[in-house]
């Protein structure tokens, strides 16, 4: 029998599988010549990661050894690049030897790793992660004690490289451009758990990090510099940012190419005697990087070669990460959308997150971390497009119910050591309380009587009750606290405490570790969590505008006719003729219908159209004015009287102090709005005694009162302290504000918060304990380095587009 001549370019996994199918179907039908640029035959490339980590040896991942090629009569031209395909002559030329004739040609040139063209990308030590040579280069780099690696790319390959290098003993940092790891396969919640697992392996992870330049010395890589100036020293830099189909040879031969080599359903290229398979192909606009569809293609290639009719039909693919101990699964489409529903299951204790995305009662996506036992079942339902409405209620638990209790605060309390302080006011430790309980104090009142715990401010009441619960078990029933919303069983107080104690620094961390029942919160809990996070972790957490109400998102108060009000800040209620002129000009320019002087001594321009906001802000900015934050849960105004500079009764420079306070505090977010006033004498023209914090100047100094209100509730301030100097008045004010920021429940004004914690508790921290006052001020100043920025300037210059109205379809139709 005449054997047909098949030339194969590329000895990768796809062509290898095609040859297996071909030899199985026609064992003696083909003379095969196999070119491979790598100096070896087919090996399981996706198992290079365990070879890198040492969990596999290279010989284990060889798919076809010399004996296999010999057995099937394959002429191997390994280590030899193909230089030309001559389709007219039907020959393939390698770097060495005569051109090889073919009846059929299979192009399987795979893909090339994408190298970001950063300055320094060609330095020695900058490598991609594609083949055994790259793997060995990394193993060699790990040989030097104390050596460092930077991996650019937090996708599958980058993370596998990072884990392998770490196991080899290197100090590894992953730099990822996007906000969370493996963003193409995982949602933010799963990305959070993965990041946590990698941090636990000692791998540093930097997300939202933009690489700027690779720094070298004597032609060798030395560090990666990020956009923000951070330098990450490294002895090796691995770029794992994606692949591109290798189409060069096919394109030179005149085959149709786009992103990849164009193939039809039979894996035929634009030349019917030339087939293509694997990562080099483009089929119906899609290119391929995972192995499952490549194996499907390989089967079709073999069938086409032997003259059978076969069609390649892309199927759903799933992803797994080969890092020992990291169990994740991802398949399908997991983007949120109005026509989609989520089913979410979290088990914080086990680090489990499961999310199914449903559309029209069918699973269209699945993301799982920590528990992948049911992934095949879900994947099957997804591929079969099965209607799941009958089992919807229990779907997330898989074919068999998987138990698991969300972390409750009791677990955290149970884990506290005996010397952990429960009652800060009275210095009572958990051990003291347990001893009291064991000594017969069986309820809160008895514990309070015996230890004084929870006897002062009362903020630790819940904690003391939990210690009672942990110690007494079922004998003690903890009074139920009101949860924030339906997404969680936790109260505001529990969440604030757990955010601090568990060091939860992102929304994803809160949702996961506290067992949120929804995917990412609701309109009730998100603003609160966003506030708690930015207040407790100003450096690590970034404010999420999507978690704010419209007024705070737009940085203006929306009015009942849909227009907005604009209030420029006038520090201490003082202004100048230039500022007034600029305000008047802006009012004219933007046809502001109403101008109002507010109770807080500001000028309110009412009736500004949404699309005009950036422009009016820019105009006011140019006149030196910034946002008055008249819409925010933060510092509103410091109202003042003119003080001793002008007033006959004035005792101190009240307007001067008001300006200084406002300059210090503006821009900070707080649990609710925060209003101040400074009156120059006890006649109190600035109405300081009904503000959240009011200063009344007297001859001997400054009387500071807190917890006033003049809205739905009316109450006079309580005296916090009298201090002799202006500097101390400022310190006390800042410290009080920070204490409120750190401890109050979201949407509690100071008077409500003080009613809960007690004025004595506040005094102890702000007035008596000078060290604590200093620490509060330092933490506030640190936060202000991030948050004291004018939102007008930022929005006018960077986000103006967001304020433009949508196109009016009515108008277009009319035209």
């Amino acid at each position: 029998m005449n054997r047909k001549k098949l030339v194969v370019i590329g000895a990768g996994m796809a062509s290898g599988r095609a040859l297996e199918h071909l030899f199985a179907a026609e064992p003696h039908g083909w003379d095969v010549t196999l070119f491979n640029a790598e100096p070896r035959g087919n090996y399981n490339r996706i198992m290079l990661s365990p070879v890198l980590s040492g969990e596999k040896a290279f010989p284990e991942i060889v798919t076809h050894d010399d004996a296999w090629y010999e057995e099937h009569g394959v002429t191997c031209r390994f280590g030899e690049k193909v230089t030309k395909i001559d389709r007219a002559e039907k020959t393939v030329s390698g770097e060495e030897g005569e051109p090889v004739a073919y009846d059929k040609l299979l192009v399987a040139t795979g893909s090339n790793p994408f190298i970001i063209p950063l300055p320094g990308h060609d330095l020695d030590g900058v490598i991609a992660y594609r083949d055994l040579e790259d793997t060995n280069a990394m193993i060699d780099a790990a040989a030097a004690p104390g050596s460092k690696a930077v991996v650019i790319g937090g996708g599958l390959l980058g993370l596998e490289a990072a884990a392998g290098l770490k196991l080899r003993g290197m100090d590894v940092t992953v730099v990822h451009l996007m906000g969370h790891l493996m963003e193409r396969q995982l949602d933010e919640a799963a990305g959070y758990l993965l990041r946590k697992a990698l941090l636990d392996r000692g791998i540093k992870v930097m997300c939202s990090a933009n690489s700027k330049q690779i720094i070298g010395v004597d032609g060798k890589v030395k560090a990666l510099m990020l956009e923000d100036g951070t330098e990450l020293p490294c002895d090796i830099l691995v770029m794992a940012v994606g692949i591109r189909p290798n189409t060069g040879l096919a394109a030179e031969a005149g085959l149709a190419t786009g992103r990849g080599i164009h193939v039809d359903d039979h894996m035929l290229t634009s030349d019917p005697d030339v087939l293509a398979v694997g990562e080099c192909v483009e089929h119906n606009g899609a290119v391929f990087g995972l192995v499952a569809p490549l194996y499907d293609q390989a089967k079709v290639v073999a069938q086409t070669l032997i003259g059978e009719t076969a069609h390649f039909v892309p199927k759903e693919v799933s992803t797994k990460l080969k890092v020992t101990g990291c169990d994740l699964f991802s398949a399908g489409d997991f983007e949120a959308g109005e026509d989609r529903e989520d089913i979410v299951f979290r088990d914080p204790g086990r680090g489990v997150y499961k999310r199914l995305i449903l559309k029209d009662n069918r699973i269209i996506g699945a993301v799982m971390y920590g528990d992948t036992a049911d992934s095949s079942w879900f994947f099957g339902l997804m591929k079969d497009e099965q209607d799941i409405s009958e089992m919807r209620e229990t779907l997330i638990f898989g074919p068999a119910y998987q138990g698991g209790e969300p972390l409750d605060p009791m677990a955290a309390v149970a884990a506290l050591p005996a010397d952990a302080e429960i009652c800060g006011c009275n210095g009572v430790s958990k051990g003291d309380i347990v001893a009291a309980i064991e000594g017969g104090a069986l309820d809160l009142a008895a514990v309070r009587a015996k230890t004084k715990a929870s006897g002062s401010c009362g903020t630790c009441t819940g904690l003391v009750e939990q210690v009672l619960g942990v110690t007494l078990g079922d004998d003690f029933v903890i009074p139920a606290a009101q949860s924030i919303c339906g997404c969680t069983e936790h109260s505001h107080e529990d969440v604030r405490r757990l955010i601090k104690s568990q060091e939860l620094k992102s929304q994803a961390a809160v949702w996961q570790e506290l067992g949120w029942k929804s995917k990412d919160g609701c309109h009730v809990c998100r603003p609160a969590i966003n506030y708690y996070l930015l207040a407790d972790w100003p450096l690590e957490y970034r404010d999420d505008p999507q978690s704010r109400f419209i007024n705070e998102r737009k940085h203006a108060n929306i009015q009942k006719d849909g227009t907005f009000s604009v209030v420029p800040r006038m520090f201490g209620g003082m202004t100048t003729s230039d500022e007034l002129r600029a305000i008047a000009d802006a009012a004219d320019k933007y046809n502001v219908p109403t101008i109002h002087v507010t109770g807080g001594q500001r000028i309110d321009l009412l009736g500004v159209k949404g699309e005009d906001l950036p422009a009016i802000w820019a105009d006011l900015n140019r006149a030196g004015m910034v946002s008055g934050h008249a819409y925010s849960k933060g510092l509103r105004t410091v109202k003042t009287c003119v003080g001793k500079e002008h007033c006959r009764f004035g005792t101190q420079d009240s307007s001067g102090l008001g300006i200084k306070l406002e300059q210090k505090l503006w821009g900070a977010w707080s649990p609710h709005k925060f209003k101040l006033a400074v009156s120059g004498c006890p006649r109190n023209c600035a109405e300081a005694t009904c503000k959240d914090l009011g200063v009344v100047c007297v001859d001997s100094g400054y009387q500071i009162g807190v917890g006033g209100a003049a809205g739905m509730d009316l109450r006079e301030t309580d005296a916090l302290a009298q201090v002799p100097t202006e500097a101390e008045a400022i310190d006390v004010t800042v410290a009080f504000y920070q204490l409120y920021r750190e401890n109050a429940k979201y949407l509690d004004r100071p008077y409500k918060w003080i009613a809960k914690v007690g004025l004595d508790w506040v005094k102890k921290r702000v007035i008596d304990d000078l060290e604590n006052r200093k620490a509060l001020i330092e933490r506030f100043e640190l936060s202000q380095t991030i948050y004291q920025k004018d939102p007008w300037a930022e929005h006018a210059s960077e986000r103006a587009d967001a304020y433009q109205p949508l196109a009016s379809l009515n108008l277009q139709a009319a035209e």
């Binding site: 040492g54 040896a57 193993i139 196991l167 392996r201 000692g202 036992a373």
Partner: protein, 310 residues
Amino acid sequence: MDLALDAPTRTFIEVSEVWVPENDKLVLAAGNYGSLENFASISGNESFAKGEGLPGKAWAEARPIVLKEFEGSYFKRTEAAHEAGLTSAVAIPVFDGELLNAVLVVLCADDNERTGAIEIWRDKDDALMLEDGYYGAAKHFEWVSKHTHFPRGQGLPGGVWASNTPILMRDLGSGYKFIRSDSAGKAGLTTGLGLPVPTPSGQEYVLTLLSARGTPIARRFEIWDARAAKVGKANEAVLIDGICAREGPLWNEESERRATAWQGLIGRVLGSGVPVVESKVPGLTAGYDSMVALPIHQNGELSHIVAWYV
């Protein structure tokens, strides 16, 4: 492949035995004594109260223990061990939470020819330090190991520690070029099995078995994953890694190997939660003479089984 060669040779471990609690004492449940019949017979008549002898001490102290000198120690079978040429032992308690399921004891014969390592690493100051180890003739490697520590995620012990998963490493000597690896290569150590040893106190230990070509600890290693998060509630385990001198790589991404409770020896470990030691039984995997299978209980479930065959 740098696997332990399958040639007739002496093995690093001479005796393996499983002690299980019964009426406040540990009694012998299974043992492989090779040709050491006298030691086998004395052991069969022995039992250990909590704190008594090596198994009782591992129970009482709830931690793995290496004993390298029997004479004058708490070891109860010193005379018989001496007669059998056994000089060192390692006891590994198998706890399921607070409950002791069994103590696995392995005994080795000291001579200057057998090389291998059984090491216990302990978390101290955020790094794993060598608690103790038995190295046979690998004296330089022993010295290097005593002066090495592993941060989380680094090296075989650090990798096991960070992932709470048994790990099987290949080419210990050739692939790893830092000092301990260099020394491992010189000592002929090729394959390393590391596994977490959970204890009721929460103190974290990692056990490593490092096998040399000439005097292997085993010729076949297997790691089975039995976590519900991996296999569901089916009381099954899936083979996630393994190598065999006779059958080559045992892992297969495309065709999963599963064991079900009470089916076969791995199934017996799954069902009972207790280690299995078997020898000279018909139908032992790949025709090997003996095997040891050790369960690991974590987070309230049997999470993994490691098995080695000679």
